[in-house]
């Protein structure tokens, strides 16, 4: 017979599992080079000290269970639903950045000496309506399940006291009028002709701009500012203590 071929497509051999080790682990020159690469490419979002600004604090990654391999993979692939892009840089550059991050990584940090139990009650009363932790909470603001790992104390204080100082992409406020209905929400996506909004009452709404009466992005976050008169210093400490416990690194698998 002509054209007989061995069919392999259905039953190829799966890739062999391999835990990759950083070839630059402990290599001082590579660590220095990695720090320079980080300063040029990553510090804008993660801060020059990698303690987070727009992007997460990276100094507690290893304490949270990350490995060189998983950190490499995150840099290579980026983080979906965030502004963290994938990287096409050569492997050795990524490994150098990973080596530098490892060199500055620290043990888990105590965010506050306040009372986490009281903080939890405050969270349930003041925050949970918009923020999810695990299976509980709202959807309008960022998921805080891992916030204790990804934000430093300073970043959390700023986010509470001055939430409008830095609003993450995907959570910027918009107000618009659609067929006479005034709608407020956060911008999930936008192009020249359309806007995709999560409304404050939990609807995903895709709208053509030409059909809208008004589209008004706002610099202010939808999150109220918890100034000292609304949230006293001891309450702030309690809330920070609770947020510091939110360190779920797993998938939440049971």
């Amino acid at each position: 017979m002509i054209g007989i071929s061995l069919l392999v497509c259905a039953w190829a051999t799966p890739p062999a599992p391999a835990q990759q080790v950083n070839p630059f682990e402990g290599d001082a020159a590579a660590v220095t080079a990695g720090g320079a690469l980080f300063a040029g490419r990553c510090a804008d979002c993660h801060g020059a000290d990698a303690r987070g600004s727009r992007g997460p604090d990276l100094t507690q990654r290893w304490a949270a269970g990350a490995t060189a391999e998983s950190t490499f993979a995150t840099i290579r692939r980026g983080v979906p639903g965030s502004i963290m892009p994938p990287s096409a840089a050569p492997d050795h550059e990524l490994w150098a950045i990973v080596a530098w991050l490892r060199s500055i990584s620290v043990a888990p940090q105590l965010v506050s000496s306040g009372d986490a139990t009281r903080g939890r009650a405050l969270f349930a009363a003041q925050c949970q309506q918009c923020h999810r932790v695990g299976a509980q909470g709202g959807s309008l603001g960022p998921d805080l399940t891992q916030i204790g790992l990804t934000r430093s104390r300073e970043a959390l204080v700023t986010a509470l006291r001055e939430p409008s100082k830095s609003v993450q992409a995907g959570f910027r406020t918009v107000e618009l009028v659609n067929r006479g209905e005034r709608i407020e929400g956060v911008i999930k996506a936008e192009d020249a002709f359309s806007i995709q909004v999560l409304t404050v009452d939990g609807r995903l709404l895709g709208l053509r701009k030409a059909a809208l009466g008004k589209v008004a992005p706002r610099a202010e976050s939808l999150m109220p500012a918890f100034s000292a008169d609304k949230l006293g210093e001891s309450e702030l400490e309690d809330l920070l203590a609770y947020l510091g416990t939110l360190r779920d690194t797993g998938t939440g698998a049971k």
């Binding site: 002509i2 054209g3 007989i4 071929s5 061995l6 069919l7 259905a10 039953w11 190829a12 051999t13 799966p14 890739p15 062999a16 599992p17 998983s70 980026g78 979906p80 639903g81 965030s82 502004i83 994938p86 309506q129 999810r132 299976a135 709202g138 959807s139 309008l140 992409a169 406020t173 107000e175 005034r182 407020e184 911008i187 999930k188 996506a189 936008e190 192009d191 002709f193 359309s194 995709q196 999560l198 404050v200 009452d201 939990g202 609807r203 995903l204 709404l205 895709g206 053509r208 701009k209 589209v215 008004a216 992005p217 610099a219 202010e220 109220p224 998938t251 939440g252 698998a253 049971k254």
Partner: protein
């Protein structure tokens, strides 16, 4: 995806310059509690009665994939035009983009290859959010077929299976994970790719992995919490009914019988209809003498308790990887002068079956392909095998006379539409070595690629006779959709998305999508008064509609 996100940032940065945009001045409104999505168990039971929605994998519980929409007709379908393309950026090498999106209130909920998922604006194809699962690097079956076939929805939760054999509940507003349960240990060969099925307050989900030493099961989970309600193993344990169809406990314990394709449901009988996969190993069978129940079968399962009401085995002691993981199609079909509640399956073994869905009684079983394996069934529905191993003429290949790609059924015409595969293969069995987590096909298949073609076939459900066919140059794995306007939509291996006249199989319209339509079936719904038709192809989702007047 990154490009899209960057575009958002830029657009916001310059928005102050656009004259259409007025700067904010109104005070912040109090934040109202989140509104429920409005998708209830009753809505899902009502199927496609609400024209703006598509709430479950097949559109409704019958598995007919038959839409009542009639705006697009055989007369006007020629002017069907693409409205937008959503490029997912996630591609399954050697496989397809196999998803069926769900449509709810102007939002499409879409799962993709490699366990990506999105909420997409149905008007523009722009994403609200993207979800991407961090997968282990040592996936087993999930690495061979990194696909997913769709979400299920209830309330504000979306349900999705994963390549590392978990079931997730995502928040439909954000894509955030609300709960995550493990179905099985992926390292042994398990993976989950099907769209779950929501029935009342439970999520029904199956598992794949029959190419490995695994044991199939069907599970029910509490939709709110993810707690498991029941598990039905598809291969019996020691002493259980059917265990005598295996030579020993070891063979049964690794006996396969995956449940990796979404089943159907009869809310009156409260019975699930679910197909089971091949026995393991796929080809070699010297270590699994017997019929190997309940592999390569259709199971009728009590949805409340998970107990099996009846079974029908299509391919006893299968040695060709002929899984019965098809969407069972429920309908009323007249037999002997009276309407019968039936379940229909066009099986990988090349036969078309009609069973009474109350009792499992065989009403009709006829080949819909040129298979040489068997040409007849005995009185009990057992094939009279003529050519078990391909030694007397070629056999259908291990992708079968058709595969998991969904068929469709037009109840008015009583026509069952299926993409048939006419192929020519020989099977060479080899005894496998069992190493945990390693594939055990138990042989290889030789395929004569010069002797194969595909065809969309319309089978009369009352007689099993072929009413018409449309031939493609290659065998394909595209799904099918039917509409009440008398249209059939499907696709081909070369990338064409095609509309056919349901009455005669005439091609009325086609659009070249650029790569194979592989495993995906179309869906349709109304949006702002216009009927939309969607198909997934390659890494893209494309929406079509008639030109706006």
């Amino acid at each position: 995806m990154q490009t899209a996100l960057r575009a958002v940032t830029v657009s916001i940065a310059f928005s102050g310059l656009l004259p259409a945009i007025v700067s904010a001045q109104s005070p912040s409104a109090p934040i109202a509690p989140a509104a429920p999505s409005g998708v209830t168990a009753a809505d899902i039971r009502a199927g496609l009665a609400e024209p703006t929605r598509w709430l479950t994998f097949s559109g409704d519980y019958t598995g007919q994939r038959h839409s009542p929409l009639t705006q697009i007709t055989p007369r006007n379908v020629g002017s069907l035009s693409p409205q937008w393309t959503f490029q997912t950026g996630s591609y399954a090498r050697g496989r397809g983009f196999e998803t069926t999106p769900l449509a709810v209130d102007g939002v499409l909920y879409v799962t993709g290859s490699n366990n990506y998922a999105w909420a997409v604006d149905a008007r523009t194809g722009r994403p609200f959010w993207e979800y991407r699962r961090t997968l282990p690097t040592n996936l087993t079956y999930g690495a061979l077929a990194p696909v997913n076939r769709g979400f299920a929805i209830l309330g504000d939760l979306l349900y999705m299976t994963t390549l590392d054999a978990h079931l997730l509940a995502l928040d439909r507003r954000t894509g955030g994970v609300v709960w995550d349960v493990r179905l099985a240990d992926y390292r042994q060969g398990y993976a989950a790719t099907l769209a779950p099925l929501v029935v009342d307050d439970q999520v029904i989900v199956g598992i794949g992995g029959g190419e490995y030493a695994t044991r199939g099961f069907l599970d029910s989970y509490d939709a709110a919490t993810g707690a498991r309600r029941w598990r039905l193993y598809t291969v019996p344990g020691p002493g259980e009914p059917g265990s005598n169809t295996w030579p020993n406990v070891e063979a049964a314990a690794r006996g396969g019988g995956g449940t990796w394709m979404t089943g159907s449901y009869d809310p009156q009988l409260k019975l699930l209809y679910w197909g089971t996969g091949n026995p393991n190993p796929d080809i070699y069978s010297g270590n699994r003498q017997g019929d190997n129940l309940y592999t390569a079968s259709l199971l009728a399962v009590d949805a409340k308790t998970g107990t099996m009401r009846w079974h029908f085995q299509f391919s006893p002691h299968d040695t060709h990887d002929w899984d019965a993981n098809h969407v069972p199609v429920l309908a009323e079909v007249p037999f002997g002068g009276k309407p019968r509640h039936v379940v229909m399956v066009a099986n990988r073994n090349g036969f078309f079956y009609v069973l009474d869905r109350v009792t499992g009684e065989l009403l009709l079983g006829k080949p819909f392909t040129a298979t040489t394996w068997a040409r007849e069934l005995d009185a009990n529905g057992r094939p009279i095998v003529l050519n078990a191993d391909g030694s007397s003429g070629c056999l259908p290949d291990q992708w079968g006379g058709t595969n998991f790609n969904p068929p469709a059924f037009n109840p008015k015409l009583q026509l069952f539409f299926v993409n048939a595969r006419e192929t020519c293969a020989r099977y060479l069995a080899q005894e496998p070595q069992y190493v945990p987590g390693e594939i055990t096909p138990g042989g290889v298949t030789w395929i004569d690629r010069d002797k194969q073609f595909g065809a969309l076939r319309a089978i009369d459900a009352r007689t099993g006779e072929m009413k018409w066919e449309f031939r493609y140059p290659q065998a394909n794995l595209a799904g099918v959709m039917s509409t009440a306007a008398g249209l059939v939509f499907s696709g081909d291996q070369e990338g064409n998305f095609i509309a056919f006249d349901a009455a005669n199989g005439r091609e009325l319209w086609h659009y070249q999508t650029g790569t194979s339509i592989w495993g995906a079936a179309p869906m349709t719904y109304m949006l702002d008064g216009r009927q939309q038709v969607l198909i997934a192809s390659g890494a893209a989702l494309i929406s079509f509609a008639l030109p706006q007047r």
